[in-house]
Symmetry: C2
Subunit: 242 residues, 2 copies
DNA sequence: GTAATAGTGTCTATGAGACAATATCCG
DNA sequence: CGGATATTGTCTCATAGACACTATTAC
């Protein structure tokens, strides 16, 4: 570092939240409608500026999550996903945003006014394809976050975070299928997750649907790092980079 | 985002560089001696503040790399590794730093005054063990960067960046052994990297040492994403997290 | 020749994937 | 019982790892 520090420009620091969930077998992301300029009325990721000079960045992320959504926020594990600070990404000035990724279990409907505005859960595919326009560089942030989630599914027990407190192995399989966008063999998947010690542990049994044999219930196990990892059959499709 | 944006506190934005290389079979990180307060005289990662309000963050990282080291900087690929913005991490105020990771091939000696001060290449082990004190939270940044490099070695052709323009397969193996801290079977390694199509491509042959059969030379291939990945025999030792 | 390192062949155990077969529910 | 889903068994093929062996240089 040089002595030029006091001529260094100040920036505004923001957080943006990529909250993913699974609804109707599709990967969806939580969006809000912007109430202020710029991009007033447009869809955007939940997020906002640091509130005061002493606020932790991750604390700000938690605060924004609580403020902008009516989700049960306590159980969500936020994970830093990247920094977005290109000059010009925000017309108000130099805004540097730290993106956080979180995975939410399936929930009925998160926001009140989600009917017409498009706010609420939206399929990731619609965002990535450009069908849905997002404010700022949020489409890029979503893309990076989704790819990160795909990778994390291989190496961590993150998939259980998509499910409720208990789930069947089929539920878990649907998570992998939706996030990876592929089909898996239920029988091989069944043994694979059970063999990975500590990934999931038994939690009773339940009648899942009106038809078929009831599945056993499981809950997330103590082991958070998967070894050996779950492997995506065809490997990563498109790498992400700076 | 709320209307509270103009009450949002401004922060100073910095970049820090984790430059790793291999020297004498050990993983080493580039350190500089701080010339100004705070932590004047202490060891730290190269880095510094954003120079002007329009500067790209990654451009600032490249600039600092060129300013603070006399390395041939053009070939280094910088990759965003994380954000460090805890209040109190810098006594001068709220400083948020974006860490970048880069891998450098083996070089003779990077900095001029590296003899007594400890600046220059230092073994990562000495930093992680606490044997070497670093300014700010730079030890944590190094730890995160090293773990990131370990993971990237599995899934990307990053290892070739540790080597010069051409290298033998044994050279490449030493990279994996040093970064992962384990021994590998040369014969199995040999076939594994060759089977991974596009990872490395032939580049003539050379007499490597005064003894033994000369090895074939290779250079980095077009394929940057390894599939199937190179697997660490014992899996990740200690996971890192926010 | 010997020493030393590079590269090949081959065996074996393990794991993935395909898929037949069985189990357990509801009606 | 029949239909549907869950769970188990088994087969086959690919791969990882161990390690004996051959190849090519310097001296």
């Amino acid at each position: 570092m040089t002595d030029a520090q006091w001529s260094a420009p100040a920036v505004l620091l923001a957080v943006d939240l990529v909250i993913l969930t699974l609804r109707e077998s599709s990967l969806q992301v939580l969006l809000v409608e912007r109430g202020v300029e710029p991009y007033r009325g447009a869809l955007a990721l939940p997020g906002g500026f640091l509130q005061h000079a002493e606020e932790n960045i991750v604390a700000a992320a938690h605060r924004e999550l609580a403020e902008e959504t009516d989700m049960d926020v306590e159980t969500l594990a936020l994970e830093q996903a990247g920094v977005y600070g290109d000059p010009g990404r925000d017309p108000r000035g130099r805004v540097v945003s730290v993106a956080y990724l979180a995975i939410a279990p399936r929930l009925p409907e998160p926001t009140a006014g989600s009917d017409a505005s498009g706010a609420g859960w939206q399929p990731v595919d619609r965002v990535l394809s450009g069908d849905l326009e997002l404010a700022f560089d949020h489409r890029r942030i979503v893309a990076d976050g989704v790819e990160r989630a795909r990778v994390k599914l291989e190496h961590s027990a993150l998939a259980t975070a998509f499910c409720g407190p208990t789930f069947t192995i089929t539920d878990l399989q649907e998570v992998y299928e939706a996030v990876w966008g592929i089909r898996l063999d239920p029988r091989n998947f069944y043994r694979k997750v059970q063999k990975n010690d500590g990934f999931i542990v038994a939690a009773g049994s339940a009648r899942k649907s009106a038809t078929g044999r009831p599945a056993r219930l499981f809950k997330a196990g103590p082991c958070k790092v998967l070894y050996p990892p779950m492997v995506r059959p065809n490997g990563p499709s498109s790498p992400e980079e700076q």
